[in-house]
């Protein structure tokens, strides 16, 4: 049996950009790596897990020692101490743990990058096949290195054998296949050489990391124990440390943003290196082709995104706004306390539920209404498949109702009662008051709420992935299936992701465009809402 969405016309373009399909499972299993961090290799001084355990044990020991030493310096009488005994312990513990763990974290982040740089320099240019980048060969190198480690772990070969392996004499691919690491092609001597270098560097790096971290911990232990004395202002030092940690946590938000922007920016720059930016921004066709020569333009996707969002807002804004007006101006407290939480349940339902609803309920229902020719209810044949702009738009609209209604409700409630009283006192009916006084006063805020809902609609993924279809085109017909930016991001990045092809990298350019678009809407909306709140504060 065919799934309902398979009924869409099978143009070559559709096949090329369809769902991940059946190739996905193989690839995913393929890419699973047997080891945790690249730093964890056999013959290390200490695996990462034990390093952390040792550091934590040292920290606990430090706490106990610090506390004891402080008490001893005050002849066991805590009242002679500057701070509570706990603070002396905490001071030692923090001196041990914080520098060591921070170094560990930074090291783990930086080491792969450094090794990658060193090793990729080893790969001769002629080894890199046409139209691929050094990244592809590097992933071979990494897999080979991990495979050798795995072989040593499983006692298939000794460390010595692994190191002196010769690609020309032994079948490395079969050997690694026997330990469950599948290699794509035969191993060339240069790649093996690079892999050996990779392992060597990882091992050295890992060992250096262990040594440095332990050294830092011990030095921290020694220095802080030496300072521990009854006159030492332990509390002040500890509190400064805690404050630094708090600041670190708060700046993680900034780091996340920087991470988002940088991760997408790098790959986007790579993408524009491989593909003309004019085609991306000003082209008219979306037709990725994994054999190269793709046309990758954002415009048809943007059109689909905006069209679906517009339909969603067409559903959500009137319903949400009227619901908000009724709840804030007319409803009795009993109705309000009953209807408002119920409406808000709609916002708490996961989007996958809406996606399934669109795919299996709303889509077929609309198809029955507007499609199927004489077999349908209305006898029309406007729709050919269950996935369409309308399907996704309507379901997304339902999802957005509570967004619009609760935000507008808050905003309408913020309009001062004196405005209403004045209008009612002049003889206006409640509805006239609302239309001519309350709504104009609340308008900026409501516009902000609608913009927030719009940004939500543009970034929504699951509903469009399941309900909107996969065909990129410019069309004004709401009964046709169309595709959106988020759908294409999902389909380009699931399945076989090769970070050297423009077909994969385009997803990052799309993601960045999406981020900029939604960010712009959010900033605008938040600005308007904030400005509006100040007006009546």
């Amino acid at each position: 049996m065919k799934p309902p969405w398979a009924a869409t016309p099978k143009s070559p373009q559709h096949i090329a950009i369809g769902w991940g399909g059946s190739s996905a499972p193989v690839v995913f299993l393929d890419q699973i790596q047997p080891v945790f961090f690249a730093a964890v290799t056999p013959e290390l001084l200490m695996p990462l897990f034990w390093l952390v355990v040792v550091l934590l044990a040292l920290t606990a020991l430090g706490f106990w020692f610090g506390r004891r030493r402080a008490l001893a310096s005050a002849q066991g009488n805590p009242r002679h101490l500057h701070s509570l005994p706990v603070y002396y312990g905490a001071n030692v513990a923090m001196s041990i743990a914080i520098p060591a763990l921070l170094t560990l974290m930074v090291w783990l982040l930086a080491q792969p990058l450094l090794i990658e740089n060193r090793v990729s320099g080893l790969i001769p240019q002629e080894l890199i096949p046409e139209s691929t980048s050094v990244g592809l060969v590097m992933s071979d190198v990494r897999r080979l290195a991990e495979g050798l480690d795995e072989a040593v772990l499983q006692n298939v070969m000794t460390q010595q054998e692994a190191r002196s392996l010769d690609a020309s004499t032994s079948d490395v691919r079969a050997l690694l296949g026997s330990v469950g690491v599948a290699l794509g092609s035969e191993v060339r001597p240069e790649v093996l050489e690079a892999a050996q270098q990779y392992r060597q560097l990882s091992r050295t790096g890992g060992n250096a990391m262990t040594l440095v971290c332990l050294l830092l911990a011990v030095v921290g232990f020694g220095l802080s124990i030496r300072r521990t004395h009854k006159d030492f202002r332990a509390r002040n030092v500890v509190e400064r440390g805690v404050l630094a940690l708090l600041i670190l946590a708060a700046s993680l938000a900034i780091l996340t943003t920087i991470g988002i922007v940088l991760s997408m920016l790098f790959e986007t720059v790579n993408f524009f290196g491989l593909h003309a930016w004019t085609d991306f921004f000003f082209g008219s066709t979306w037709a990725p082709n994994f054999r190269g020569d793709s046309e990758l333009s954002i415009l048809p996707l943007l059109w689909g995104t905006l069209y679906i969002s517009a339909i969603a807002l067409l559903v959500a804004v009137p319903v949400g706004l009227f619901a908000a007006i009724y709840l804030s101006e007319y409803a009795s407290p009993a109705v309000r306390s009953f209807a408002k939480p119920l409406l808000e349940i709609l916002a708490g339902i996961p989007t996958i539920v809406y996606g399934l609803f669109a795919l299996l309920t709303v889509g077929p229902l609309l198809l029955k209404l507007f499609g199927q020719g004489d077999n349908g209810i209305l006898g029309l044949s406007w729709m050919t498949g269950a996935t369409s702009v309308l399907t996704a738009g309507v379901v997304m609209g339902i999802m957005l109702i509570p967004f619009v209604s609760s935000l507008s409700d808050d905003i309408i409630n913020a309009v001062p009662q004196s405005l209403r009283d004045g209008s009612l006192g002049l003889g206006a009916t409640p509805s006239e008051t609302i239309r001519q006084v309350v709504l104009p006063a609340a308008l900026p805020g409501i516009v902000g709420a609608i913009l927030l809902a719009a940004s939500r609609a543009i970034g929504e993924t699951m509903i469009v992935v399941m309900g909107a279809g996969a065909i990129a085109k410019f069309s004004a017909n709401p009964f046709e299936s169309m595709t959106t930016i988020t759908t294409r991001v999902v389909s380009q990045l699931t399945g076989d992701t090769d970070f050297a092809s423009p077909e994969t990298l385009v997803a990052f350019a799309l993601g960045l465009s999406l981020f900029v678009l939604t960010l712009g809407l959010n900033v605008l909306a938040l600005y308007i809402v904030r400005k509006y709140r100040e007006q009546y504060d």
């Binding site: 299993l29 792969p112 805690v242 993680l252 938000a253 009724y326 007319y330 996961p350 009916t429």
Partner: protein, 450 residues
Amino acid sequence: MTDFSPTPDQPAVAQNSLLTQSKRTIKRNSAEARFKAYGIAAIGIGLVMLLVLVTTIFGRGTGAFQQTFITVNVELLESKLDKNGERNIEDIKRVTTFGYAPLIKSAMQTAVADLGIETSLKSKHMAGLLSKNAVAQLRAYVLANPEKIGETIEFRFLAQSRVDGYLKGRVSRDSIENDKNISPEQLDLVDALVAAGVIEKTFNLDFITGADASDQRPEAAGMGVSMLGSFFMMLVVLALALPIGVAASIYLEEFAPKNWITDVIEVNIANLAAVPSIVYGILGLAVFINYMHLPMSAPLVGGLVLTLMTLPTIIISTRAALKAVPPSIRDAALGVGASKMQSVFHHVLPLAAPGILTGTIIGLAQALGETAPLLLIGMVGFIASNAPSTIGEGLLSPNSAMPAQIYEWAKRADPAFYERAWGGIIVLLIFLVTMNTVAVILRRRFERRW
């Protein structure tokens, strides 16, 4: 003082009596009634949609919790399973599932013959009523109990999905015309077997605790392993997002000086809360998988991505909870000699704890239902078949998550999986409703108004 009586030349004839409404008043009043009706209609639409959604989910999903089973006696023939008769486990293991198929065929044939049912079907098609899982189930049993070879044992096998669908009304005699998996004669046999009590529909615990199955065996697919995947992800989210979120909120609310850096952080957090979730997926793919080489499809990576996604939610609600603690508490603590840090950690934080907990639970519920970022880090597209045995394996070995599993089922071609998808949604919603209820109860019970 003037007498305020109407003058004769200006007759005070009220053109409109208060008792009869003028045209204009009628118009205005009906506009008022209309406007009010629009409001009621809008709320009605919202509530009806909710009702439709809930009834669809339960109407279509409850079937997944029931499954059709066929009970037959299988003779474990020694000549097929252990030719040497030595009960050597290695010998028995050598018999593949193909070797078990004849046993099931003859078992079905005997069962039908014993019940005296007339049918023109061959034994192969009788065995076709059973799930493709049956041979594997039989083999697993024999490998676990080699001493039972030679005996006749009663087994309860899953029926194949068409038979299951027939009993649940999903499959009818009209709908199977072009279906090569089942024939009308087989359905006749099913009817007869149901009458004889051999085929019955019972509660299916395996759907809740079991693992996903390949797309040939929808009847064997379950949620259990992906539930564990979700559990490990939530573990990561809780372990990272709660401490980091609380620490960030404490700094921003209690210590941060009012300057542009703080402003930037605040605006940043407000905007991060509204970044589309798929963008976090791209971040996870680029940073955790492509750069840090963490294993693909691992709940650890999923948890890290969801942590970044839930952090803004937790920070916003924690700040609200801290703000709700009155300044008098801080002043009193400072007044008896506590340091600023002590006043916050010893007094403000415990008082704000219920609010923080509520916000965290709501953030976790949001993360539990999120799908889009998980698609990008590879938590769909394979069959999560084995439950992890240790925490490390649970975090690092590839797994799925509940919403990703539902998506996976919705993607498969066989409509029998749709029932699973709806059933999976019921399980997911039960978790979400429980978490939200706990949050509401916490808030009601512990929230203090000052």
